[in-house]
């Protein structure tokens, strides 16, 4: 079955003066997919994401979000997407429950704050301030705010950067749970294990251009077929598996 294209990016270009941050990239994201943009720092991932989120103007090209053009229908788009920004803070001096109410007002939706916080395991932190949360809790709260308007698509910009292995795994499970509810997830990362675990398809981007798009499995198979072999023999477990086996999967600092 061919799924509906919920995001369509065609020949997208973004220039800052003489510098070309995004140099003619095209890709589609299908409804219900977890799609990852991979690439080193400065490859243009965040810029591409922010253009899709209507936070940044494009120089040329076309971006459609659920059939709406980013340069014409930005307000309609904003009400059907959820956005988690890299390193964004929240209004100072407010409790989590008050922050959710604020976003409820900004999105014009009535929300059950208890249920929202329960979904990301932060029910007991309702009366805490954002700055007092651990790294993993902060990211989970950020993702919680993206779900307020019951969006069709959520955008996550490097959601696990800086988290310990337990918190990363925990966040992966959350992303999978969100997708299971029918939400399309578009994320950026520079962790390949994360992309391999989470993403149905990935686009690898470097110097403002997309180099390849496919499912992680296909990309690996293709490489092997071309005769690639690892310098070191791959073992059945990794050091991270050792670490998690020794320290457990439970979240820390909570």
């Amino acid at each position: 079955m061919d799924l509906k294209k919920i995001i369509e990016v065609k020949d997208l270009v973004k220039k800052y003066g003489d510098f070309t941050a995004v140099n003619g990239i095209s890709f589609d994201v299908k409804e219900g997919e977890i799609f990852g943009l991979l690439g080193p720092n400065g490859a243009g991932k965040t810029t591409t994401l922010e253009i899709m989120e209507t936070l940044r103007d494009k120089t040329s090209g076309e971006v459609l979000i659920d059939g709406l053009a980013v340069d014409k229908d930005s307000n309609e788009i904003k009400s059907i997407i959820g956005v988690q920004l890299q390193a964004a803070g929240y209004y100072p001096n407010l409790y989590l429950v008050e922050l959710l109410e604020l976003f409820g007002g900004l999105y014009n939706v009535d929300i059950d704050t208890d249920e929202m916080l329960g979904m990301v395991d932060l029910k007991d932190k309702a009366k805490s301030k954002y700055k007092d949360l651990s790294g993993g809790q902060k990211q989970r709260f950020s993702i919680c705010t993206t779900l307020i308007n019951n969006p069709k698509i959520i955008f996550l910009d490097e959601p696990t950067t800086g988290l310990d292995p337990q918190a990363r795994r925990n966040l992966w499970e959350l992303v999978i749970k969100i997708r299971a509810n029918g939400t399309t997830v578009m994320l950026t990362t520079h962790y390949m294990d994360e992309a391999e675990y989470l993403c149905d398809r990935v686009g690898i981007i470097d110097k403002g251009r997309i180099i390849t798009i496919d499912s992680p499995d296909n990309l690996i198979d293709k490489l092997i077929k071309d005769g690639f072999t690892k310098k070191r023999e791959q073992k059945l477990a990794s050091l991270e598996d050792v670490f998690l086996n020794l320290t457990g999967h439970e979240l820390r600092d909570e």
């Binding site: 920004l85 100072p92 407010l94 008050e98």
Partner: protein, 371 residues
């Protein structure tokens, strides 16, 4: 598709804006420095000045235009250091100021047609300044006694003293200090409040996250301003109420005066918020805010008649005072509270405040930064 368009049509910017106002106000009340600067500071000044009576003691005495001006009585009185002879005022002005206690007494010395005593000295004092009036009367009685003795001619005396007390309201230190403190509190709330919050929201990307919601940019600003306005109105109510209840602050027409003061405060705050936007646009980061903000507030704190009437300043400094927006707020607040003026009576002052508002917001639009 159709249901979506419907949904966006129903989106209420007002609801989004009010959510922001509520959040900002909650945060404001949780921020100790906002409470300290806007409410506690002015109250401390009011209490300090409420208890110490300010400065040197002088008695302002006016001379009636129909008076014999070169009379020895007037000459002797003008040699007394405590007495300040008021000049260049019309009878009408003198009458007004006497009833407010700004002039403590009015003297008129005329020749007595019957010849004995030779002169009649009439002194008008005011119930608005009873202590000074009483001292003035004593001084005059002494002066006349001396002249009588000097004449030393038994039956006929030099002059006779007649006294009359004009009804007036007593102008207390608090009546001067409280409007000044209120004005300054509004200025600092406006400048510091918006400057810090917008820089901090910008740097921590809070604003950027707001941009990802359907709320319009202008409503983010209006929401913040509404919260500052609410907060400042609350602190104004507290300052005026405490002044009136515990320190005898005069509200001439009672509640109506109170309401007029609040309306004026609201107008002034909106103007002052504009200064805050300018500061938040100019300042590179939070740590450079105080320097720039103090540059705007401190001169006004000192020169706009917050603590002393601007007529006390040397003449070369007065044009500076008369250019500052806070001067006009302080001046009109005092006219409303003590002289019973209404908002309409102080329109010229408001016009100058608003002119400042136009200038400041024009600059703010140029320098304000979202990112």
């Amino acid at each position: 598709m159709n249901s979506e368009t419907n949904k966006t049509n129903q989106y209420s910017q007002i609801r989004a804006m009010l959510a922001l106002t509520k959040a900002s106000l909650t945060a404001l009340f949780r921020n100790p420095s906002a409470v300290v600067f806007n409410i506690l500071f002015p109250l401390i000044f009011i209490i300090v000045f409420g208890f110490i009576s300010g400065g040197s003691f002088t008695i302002d005495l006016a001379i009636d235009s129909s008076s014999d001006k070169n009379n020895p009585v007037i000459e002797s009185l003008s040699q007394i250091k405590t007495i300040n002879i008021v000049k260049d005022k019309s009878d009408e002005e003198i009458k007004k100021e006497l009833s407010k206690g700004r002039i403590d007494g009015l003297i008129k010395v005329t020749k007595n047609p019957s010849g004995n005593p030779e002169f009649v000295a009439e002194l008008k004092t005011t119930s608005a300044s009873p202590e000074r009036g009483a001292i003035l009367k004593m001084m005059m009685a002494q002066v006349i006694d001396k002249q009588n003795l000097a004449k030393n001619s038994g039956s006929s005396s030099f002059a006779e003293l007649k006294e009359q007390i004009v009804e007036g309201r007593k102008f207390k230190t608090i009546d001067f200090i409280l409007p000044g403190q209120l004005g300054f509190s509004l200025l600092s709330a406006g400048v510091f409040g918006t400057a810090f919050i917008f820089i901090s929201l910008r740097q921590t990307l809070v604003i950027k996250r707001f941009f990802a919601t359907p709320v319009k940019k202008i409503n983010i600003i209006i929401g913040e301003c509404l919260s500052r306005l609410t907060f400042s109105m609350m602190s104004s109510i507290i300052i005026i109420a405490i002044g009136a209840l515990f320190f005898g602050f005069t509200l001439v027409n009672g509640f109506a005066t109170f309401v007029n003061m609040l309306i004026l405060s609201a107008i002034a705050l909106v103007v002052f918020l504009g200064f805050g936007f300018v500061v938040s646009g100019i300042a590179k980061n939070e740590s450079s805010v105080p320097a720039i903000a103090n540059l705007i507030t401190l001169p006004q704190f000192l020169l706009a008649g917050t603590f002393f009437p601007i007529s006390n300043f040397p003449e070369w400094l007065q044009p500076v005072s008369k250019a500052l927006p806070l001067t006009y707020l302080n001046q009109s607040l005092r006219e409303i509270s003590f002289e019973g003026a209404t908002i309409l009576d102080v329109l010229p002052d408001i016009a100058i405040l608003l002119a400042w508002g136009v200038i400041v917001y024009a600059i703010a639009v140029k320098v304000f930064k979202w990112e």
